[in-house]
């Protein structure tokens, strides 16, 4: 009898294990893979949300920075990970919507290989000019750029970066010609604007706001559809005559495709609960980001929509990327 028990018991436990794994999830630390090195906006958001999720799930949420190939290394890693909810991807807008589309020999498919969990936070860019540029609003900028074609330089953190694509979209919509200077990282273009090596940039709020406040940069417009709470007097580009101009930046959580619905739901609910905490809202606010927390399918639709619209901009502007 004792022998039989010894045989059957492990068997029963083994059979029960998958079911238990789902209802007990998580039973071990969760790894969130990041497409960028420590120290950027993505890293800050991941650490903030990860910290909150750790407390609620009772398991450590580990941040795993896997920079490289514009985000493809991190995406590939998560696409191929076991769909058990222990490996997740911290998605960043262009890393999911632009980079895969222009990379050769892609080993994963954003639409097929991931289950979107939720969009965590969104922000927008500010179009700023050096104070010496004699323009006060978008109309004046367009007129000035048309009168002096190619004489204004704009900066970006690399070809195909959101800063670059936003400027390309601006040129396409206004028929102006600006000269592109690429820098490694956002800090390079911020310095260059302060030194008047470039005259305008679509910069992140965190990189531009402090300089706007001391008058070293002049904001002309913001890139989203809603005005920025931190700059209530600055119109959007959409308001300024460029109907439909909408460039945002966002961060979201994704799981490998095939992750069970129960786990996806648990992760979604936990992430949304963290987003609703007052402390999270405050910190996101200080990064000029808005908490979102939509459903997985809504997040998936956003990725699909932006992938299509960026492809159109890249095609029309004739940007060649590899």
């Amino acid at each position: 009898m004792l022998k039989l028990k010894a045989l059957v018991l492990p068997l029963l436990i083994a059979l029960a294990a998958p079911a238990a794994a789902q209802s007990d999830y998580p039973t071990k630390p969760i790894r969130v893979v990041l497409p960028f090195p420590p120290g950027g906006g993505t890293d800050a958001v991941a650490r903030l949300i990860g910290d909150g999720m750790s407390k609620r799930l009772g398991q450590q949420v580990l941040i795993d920075n896997r920079p490289g190939a514009g985000g493809n290394i991190a995406s590939d890693l998560v696409a191929r990970a076991a769909p058990d909810g222990y490996t997740l991807l911290m998605g960043f807008s262009t890393a999911l919507t632009v980079t895969p589309g222009v990379s050769p020999n892609l080993t994963f498919n954003v639409a097929k290989d991931f289950t979107p969990i939720t969009e965590l936070a969104a922000g927008q860019y500010v179009l700023v000019v050096h104070p010496d540029v004699p323009v006060k609003n978008i109309d004046e900028l367009i007129a000035y750029a048309k009168k002096n074609p190619g004489s204004l330089n704009f900066g970006s953190s690399g070809t195909g970066s959101p800063h670059h694509l936003a400027a390309e979209l601006f040129m396409a919509k206004t028929g102006t010609k600006l000269t592109h200077l690429a820098y490694k990282g956002a800090s390079g273009s911020t310095t260059a604007l302060l030194g008047n090596e470039i005259q305008l940039v679509f910069g992140s709020v965190t990189a531009t706001l402090p300089h706007i406040q001391v008058g070293k940069m002049r904001p002309l417009a913001t890139s989203g559809l809603k005005r920025l709470p931190a700059l209530p007097d600055i119109p959007t580009l959409d308001e300024s005559g460029l109907k439909g101009f909408d460039v945002t930046t966002w961060y979201g959580l994704l799981a490998p495709a095939g992750t069970s619905q129960a786990i996806v739901d648990k992760l979604h609910d936990t992430a949304v609960a963290v987003l609703n905490e007052e402390k999270t809202k405050e910190t996101l606010n200080s990064l000029s980001l808005e908490p979102i927390g939509n459903t997985g399918p809504e997040f998936g639709a956003l990725i699909a929509r932006e992938t299509a619209s960026w492809a159109k901009v890249i095609n029309e502007a004739g940007i060649k990327l590899e």
Binding site: G40, T191, E322
Partner: protein, 501 residues
């Protein structure tokens, strides 16, 4: 005097119990990870960041900064003892520092590095305190053409670095430039020399090349020469520098400090270039340049002072403008954001305790490093007496772990092995690796700035000679190059005349 009241505020923050405690914790941690080959401050700070959320902002910043400059300090120790440069600025320290260690003078090498760093840290700290806003405004005049020209100057100094054949040095620089091409072209977004490996799209990490070419190559080479392995333990002389050592180091420390303080302000390039340039400068000034590369104490004192001075003044753009110029600085500013302080030009006025507290704590941190490290000299030197069969496998394993943490990629470990073998071939053929490393560091930045300048000028190369600072630097480079080439040509001529007769 406003400066004095500000400094008084700074010292009141830095000398508080918490200020001292976190400064101590920071520099200790920094020294420790700096000594571990390959493990850098970026990884350490990113791991420790969550802990700092529960601290006061000023304590957190003091601790993180302590890790940063403490690591630079610890990196020199590893460079001198086992020829492993974990940071770009300690490559130069390897050249003569490790040669001193091999001659049983590890103690004086480590001590002079500590003393030089402390003096440089003190002076550059005064520079930060007194002139930070003015200097950051001045640094903004440095555009892409100026950066290109200063890098040309840097490359010319690389030729001075090597002892022996000029042709070998130049070919190593060129090889370094070519290796630096691997990765994504920032102007067009095109992948170059990535061989289909996604890990290579950001280029090869400097630490991988440096540790492979210096450390691993040396370890493999030593296996073949048993006598080299015994050298360390057999004749360890005195631990502290002699009076003659101090006298020889005084001017190099002063020149290194001046050079580092100025170049550190230039984001991204300062710390590395300053140590290379200081080495070249000392070799030029020396009456016995042939001693360089064979354990000249000036070759340790100058560059070590330069890189520490630069590491301090590198905080100027970060603190006055809120612009981070490397991952570590970005993390520190990110930590401020978590406390609800937006990094930017207003931090100095809105949170003076933060700015001045940090400035004061950096000086105290430097003092702590000196006081901590001088008594530890004996311990470090004793480490060299550990049998080769135990010490070196441990170093190899730690190096592998270290490079893996750079970007959590196993390819880095494979590349470390590859560069170890390549480095071994160079050791056998008597090619010095330092010029290659400088070419490797400067190449990509030089190309980026060259191409950006050309886009700015709409294709007109005269942009480099019409901007005053740019042309000044190109002229210095030309003079330096001529001063090296003319004696060589004259020498050849004399040889030719001699053979005619």
């Amino acid at each position: 005097m406003e400066l004095f009241s500000n400094l008084a505020l700074g010292f009141s923050v830095a000398l508080s119990f918490h200020g001292l405690l976190y400064c101590f914790v920071g520099v200790m941690l920094g020294t420790f990870i700096g000594v571990l080959p390959g493990v850098g401050p970026l990884v350490t700070i990113s791991v420790l960041l969550p802990i700092t959320y529960n601290l006061e902002p000023s304590s957190a910043l003091i601790m993180l900064a302590g890790i940063y400059y403490g690591a630079q300090y610890g990196g020199s120790t590893t460079a001198i003892l086992v020829n492993l440069p974990g940071e770009s600025s300690s490559v130069v320290t390897c050249l003569d520092g490790h040669q001193m260690a091999r001659r049983g003078r590890a103690g004086p090498a480590l001590a002079i590095a500590a003393i030089g760093s402390f003096i440089a840290g003190t002076v550059s700290n005064v520079v930060v305190a007194a002139f930070a806003p003015a200097l950051s405004a001045w640094a903004l005049n440095f555009g892409s053409p100026e950066y290109f020209s200063i890098m040309v100057l840097g490359l010319v100094t690389a030729a001075v670095l090597s002892h022996g054949s000029m042709i070998k040095a130049i070919s190593m620089i060129v090889l370094g430039l070519i290796l630096g091409l691997s990765g994504t072209d920032v102007n067009s977004g095109t992948y170059r020399f990535t061989f289909g490996l996604p890990e290579l799209t950001d280029g090869i990490d400097f630490v991988v090349v440096a540790m492979g070419m210096f450390g691993l190559a040396e370890i493999i080479a030593n296996i073949q020469r048993p006598e080299a392995r015994e050298i360390f333990s057999s004749k360890v002389s005195n631990l502290l520098p002699s009076r003659a050592d101090m006298k020889a180091s005084a001017w190099p420390i002063a020149r290194g400090t001046a050079l580092g303080s100025i170049l550190g302000i230039l984001p991204g390039t300062g710390t590395t270039i300053s140590s290379f340039m200081s080495y070249a400068l000392e070799k030029k000034f020396s009456r016995h340049p042939e001693r360089f590369g064979h354990g000249a104490i000036e070759g340790v004192a100058g560059p070590e002072s330069a890189n520490n001075a630069a590491a301090q003044t590198a905080f100027i753009p970060t603190l006055t403008l809120g612009i981070p110029h490397n991952g570590t600085m970005a993390l520190m500013l990110g930590a401020l954001t978590m406390f609800g302080i937006a990094p930017g030009p207003q931090v100095m006025t809105s949170h003076p305790d933060l700015f001045w507290g940090l400035v004061a704590s950096m000086w105290i941190g430097n003092l702590m490093l000196l006081v901590l490290n001088l008594p530890m000299l004996g311990l470090w030197v004793k480490m060299l007496a550990v049998p080769y069969r135990l010490l070196y496998p441990a170093i190899v394993i730690l190096s592998c772990v270290g490079v893996y943490t750079l970007s959590n990629s196993s390819l880095s470990v494979v590349l470390l092995a590859v560069f170890g073998l390549v480095g071994l071939v160079f050791v056998k053929l008597d090619f010095a690796p330092a010029p290659l490393l400088l070419g490797f560091i400067l190449g990509p930045m030089m190309e980026e700035n060259l191409r950006r300048s050309m886009v700015m000028s709409r294709g007109d190369p005269s942009i480099f000679v019409t901007r005053p600072m740019s042309v000044a630097m190109l002229l210095i480079a030309a003079i330096l190059l001529a001063s090296m080439l003319i004696p060589m040509i004259r020498h050849k001529k004399e040889e030719a005349v001699a053979s005619d007769a």
